[in-house]
C-alpha cells in the first residue's frame, strides 16, 4: 500500500502570531511546527504502515525551510519526502495550493492520500477536499478512525460530527482528512533523526507539476482576497474537577490560588 500524507509547516501559535501590513502572516518572524491535524494524519498513516506494511510519502509545499517538517516526518517513520517549492508558487490561496499539490501528486503512485482537516494558520479546511476534487477521488473528511481492507481495496472511516459520527466506506484510492483528535502522534526516534537529516528530499518546482495551468497557481492564480486577519482569542485549557462536598471544592480552589500566589 502506498500512502501520501500532505503536511504543512505552520507558525507555532502558542507563541502568538504576527502579521505583515498587508494582512498576510509574517512567517519569517515566528517559530514553526508541523500542523497538528497533519501530524495526526501522518500518525494515522504510520499506524497503517505498522499494521499492514505501507510506504509513506510526505509531501509539502512551502519555502525551502519547510524541509524541517519533512525531516521531522522522516524521523517519525515516513519513508520518502517531497518538497514543492518555487517562487512562482508563492502567495497561493487554497485554490492555488490544492491545484499545485494535486499537480505534484499526479507524479506519484498512491492508494491513499491523508491530509489534516485544516491548518492552524488559515483554518479553512478546504485544501484536502479540493485536492480530492482535482484528482477526482472520493473524500472523507474529519476522520476519527481509519480501517483499511487491503484485499477489497477499501477503507472504513468514522467521520466525526458535532453530536454523532458517520461510518463511511470508500474505495481506494481516496482522500481522508484527519482530526488532531484522531490519535496521539508518536515522537521522532533518535536514530530516525540521524537518518532523516542525511535523507534525500525530492524537490520539485513549477515545471515538475503535472497538468497544471499557470492561471491556477501562485498569487495570480488565487481568487481569495483577505479582507481582515486576526489572531485567535485564546484562553487556557482550564481544569475540571469533581468533588463530593462544597468544602472540598473550596479548599481545592484555595490551594490552587495559593499555589499561583494569588492569595
Amino acid at each position: 500500500m502506498k500512502i501520501i500524507v500532505c503536511i504543512k509547516q505552520v507558525p507555532d501559535t502558542k507563541g502568538g502570531v504576527e502579521f505583515n501590513p498587508d494582512g498576510t502572516l509574517n512567517r519569517a518572524a515566528m517559530l514553526t511546527i508541523m500542523n497538528p491535524d497533519d501530524k495526526a494524519g501522518l500518525e494515522a498513516a504510520l499506524r497503517l504502515k505498522d499494521q499492514y506494511g505501507a510506504e509513506v510519502t510526505v509531501l509539502t509545499m512551502g519555502l525551502p525551510k519547510a524541509t524541517d517538517v519533512l525531516q521531522e516526518a522522516l524521523a517519525m517513520g515516513a519513508d520518502k519526502a517531497v518538497l514543492v517549492t518555487d517562487r512562482r508558487l508563492g502567495g497561493a490561496d487554497t485554490w492555488a495550493t490544492s491545484t499545485t499539490i494535486a499537480g505534484a501528486i499526479r507524479n506519484l503512485e498512491y492508494d491513499l492520500i491523508i491530509t489534516g482537516r485544516q491548518a492552524i494558520d488559515g483554518d479553512t479546511a478546504q485544501v484536502g477536499p479540493q485536492i480530492a476534487e482535482h484528482l477526482q477521488l472520493p473524500v472523507i473528511s474529519y476522520a476519527m478512525d481509519i480501517k483499511v481492507d487491503e484485499a477489497a481495496k477499501k477503507v472504513t472511516v468514522k467521520r466525526q460530527y458535532d453530536d454523532r459520527y458517520h461510518v463511511i466506506e470508500a474505495k481506494m484510492p481516496c482522500l481522508i482528512t484527519a482530526l488532531s483528535e484522531l490519535n496521539e502522534p508518536r515522537y521522532m526516534s533518535v536514530g530516525g533523526i540521524f537518518d532523516a537529516v542525511k535523507a534525500e528530499i525530492t524537490t520539485w518546482g513549477r515545471d515538475d507539476l503535472k497538468d497544471v495551468d499557470d492561471s491556477n497557481i501562485g498569487l495570480a492564480g488565487s481568487p481569495t482576497k483577505i479582507a481582515k486577519a486576526s489572531d485567535k482569542v485564546r484562553k487556557g485549557a482550564g481544569e475540571k474537577k469533581a468533588f463530593d462536598s462544597p468544602e472540598e471544592s473550596v479548599s481545592y480552589i484555595v490551594e490552587k490560588l495559593n499555589e499561583k500566589h494569588v492569595i
Binding site: Y187, S189, V190, F194, V197
Partner: protein, 388 residues
C-alpha cells in the same frame, strides 16, 4: 571549535525536551515521593531509542554519538533526576562496556536487547569496603569447570532490582605489580534470575529516590565461562574505562538538574511579589541569577566538550578523554549543588516545600558530587594528569 549544534543535535534536543515535558515531568514528584521506579517511562524511552543512543545500528542502537546521549540525560534530568540516572547507568555503565569489550557472541546476546531497551542494564563495582578504592574488592570469582562461581556482595547499585543484565567485577586471583601483590580483578556479565544471585537491602536515599538502588548478593552464583567480559585480569581497566564514560553521563545529569533549577527559578522570581515588586526586580536576585546562569553555561560547555572528545576517542582510541570527563563531572556536579541550593534560597519558604520542584532538585543534585567518582576523585584524576 564549534559552538553551534548540528541539525541532528538540534532535532534530538527538541525530541528529548518534548518527551521530558510530556512524559517525564508529570511523574517526577510522585516518583520521588513514593520511591517508585518509573517503569512506564523506561518502556516509552525504549520505543524512541533513548536506551541505545550511542550504539551502532547493527547492534540494535540508534547510531548516534556521545553528545546526543549526553543531551538526552541532560534534558531528562532537567525535569527528573531519577529518570536521567536510569538512562545514564544503563547506557554508560552496562551498554558501553559490553559494546567496547564484549565478544560478538556477547554483543549478540546482551548488547542488542540492551540497546533496544528490551532489557535494562546495571553495573556492580562498589562494595561495602570498596568504593573509591577498587582494590578493596572482596567479591570473588573462581573458575570451576565451564563456570565461574561468584561469591560476595555489591552495594549502592543503580537500577539494582529493575535491571536484567549486570556487569559485575570480582577478584579472580593475585598478580605481582611493581613488586607488590595486587588483586587481579575481572569483569563478568550476570543475568538476573541466575541461581545464587539475590537482592539485599533497598537503600532509602536523600535524592534520586525513584531510581532502584539495591545491594546485590552472590552466593555460589554460577555463570557460564563465556560470560567473562574482556580478558581475565583486565577488570580494573574495564572499570576505569567505563567510569570515564559514566562521568559524562553523570555530568550531564548534574547539568540538567542545574538547568532545571535555574529555569524554574527564573519563572518564579517573575511571579513572586514582595514589597510590591516581583522579586526578580531586586538586584540581589538579578546578580544571583546572573552567576547561576554563567556557571550553568560554563558547565554545559565542559560537558559537551567531554562528550565530543569521547566521540574522537571512538574514532581513534589513542585519544584519552579521562581528564575532560573528570573536569566536566567535577564542575557540573558542584554547579548543580550550588545552583539548586541558590534556587531553593530564592524560592524562600516555598523552596523548602516538597511541592516545589527545586526542593527535589537540591536533594537530587547532591549525589552527583559522590557517585561514579567523588569530586575528590575527579580532582585526583585531573591533578595526576597535569603533574605527570
Amino acid at each position: 571549535m564549534e559552538f553551534s549544534l548540528s541539525k541532528e543535535h538540534e532535532m534530538a534536543r527538541q525530541l528529548f525536551r518534548d518527551f521530558a515535558q510530556n512524559e517525564v515531568k508529570p511523574l517526577a514528584q510522585e516518583v520521588d515521593e513514593e520511591e517508585r521506579f518509573p517503569r512506564e517511562t523506561v518502556e516509552k524511552m525504549a520505543r524512541y531509542g533513548f536506551l541505545g543512543i550511542p550504539v551502532a545500528k547493527e547492534w540494535g542502537g540508534q547510531g548516534a554519538d556521545p553528545l546526543t546521549y549526553a543531551m538526552c540525560v541532560e534534558e531528562l534530568s532537567k525535569v527528573c533526576g531519577t529518570t536521567g540516572v536510569i538512562v545514564s547507568a544503563h547506557t554508560s555503565l552496562c551498554v558501553d562496556p559490553i559494546m567496547t569489550f564484549g565478544t560478538d557472541e556477547q554483543k549478540q546476546k546482551y548488547l542488542i536487547p540492551l540497546a533496544k531497551g528490551e532489557k535494562l542494564g546495571a553495573f556492580g563495582l562498589t562494595e561495602p569496603g570498596a568504593g573509591t578504592d577498587a582494590q578493596g574488592q572482596q567479591t570473588k570469582a573462581v573458575l570451576d569447570g565451564d563456570e565461574w562461581v561468584l561469591n560476595g556482595s555489591k552495594c549502592f547499585i543503580t537500577n539494582g532490582k529493575e535491571a536484567d543484565v549486570y556487569v559485575i567485577f570480582a577478584v579472580t586471583g593475585k598478580i605481582e605489580k611493581r613488586g607488590k601483590m595486587m588483586k587481579e580483578i575481572s569483569a563478568f556479565i550476570v543475568e538476573k534470575g541466575t541461581p545464587g544471585f539475590t537482592f539485599g537491602t533497598k537503600e532509602n536515599k536523600m535524592g534520586i529516590r525513584g531510581s532502584s538502588t539495591y545491594e546485590l548478593i552472590f552466593t555460589d552464583c554460577r555463570i557460564p565461562k563465556e560470560n567473562l567480559l574482556g580478558q581475565q585480569g583486565k577488570g580494573f581497566n574495564i572499570a576505569m574505562h567505563t567510569l570515564d564514560g559514566g562521568r559524562i553521563g553523570i555530568a550531564a545529569q548534574a547539568l540538567g538538574l542545574a538547568e532545571g533549577a535555574l529555569e524554574t527559578t527564573i519563572n518564579y522570581v517573575k511571579e513572586r511579589k514582595q514589597f510590591g515588586r516581583a522579586i526578580g526586580a531586586f538586584q540581589n536576585t538579578q546578580f544571583q541569577l546572573a552567576d547561576m546562569a554563567t556557571k550553568v553555561q560554563a558547565a554545559q560547555y565542559l560537558v559537551y566538550a567531554a562528550a565530543m572528545k569521547k566521540a574522537e576517542y571512538q574514532k581513534n582510541p589513542k585519544i584519552s578523554y579521562s581528564v575532560e570527563a573528570a573536569m566536566a563531572k567535577l564542575y557540573a556536579a558542584e554547579v548543580a549543588m550550588e545552583v539548586t541550593t541558590k534556587a531553593v534560597q530564592l524560592h524562600g519558604g516555598y523552596g523548602y516545600i516538597r511541592e516545589y520542584d527545586v526542593e527535589r532538585m537540591m536533594r537530587d543534585a547532591k549525589i552527583t558530587e559522590i557517585y561514579e567518582g567523588t569530586s575528590e576523585v575527579q580532582r585526583m584524576v585531573i591533578s595526576a594528569n597535569i603533574l605527570k
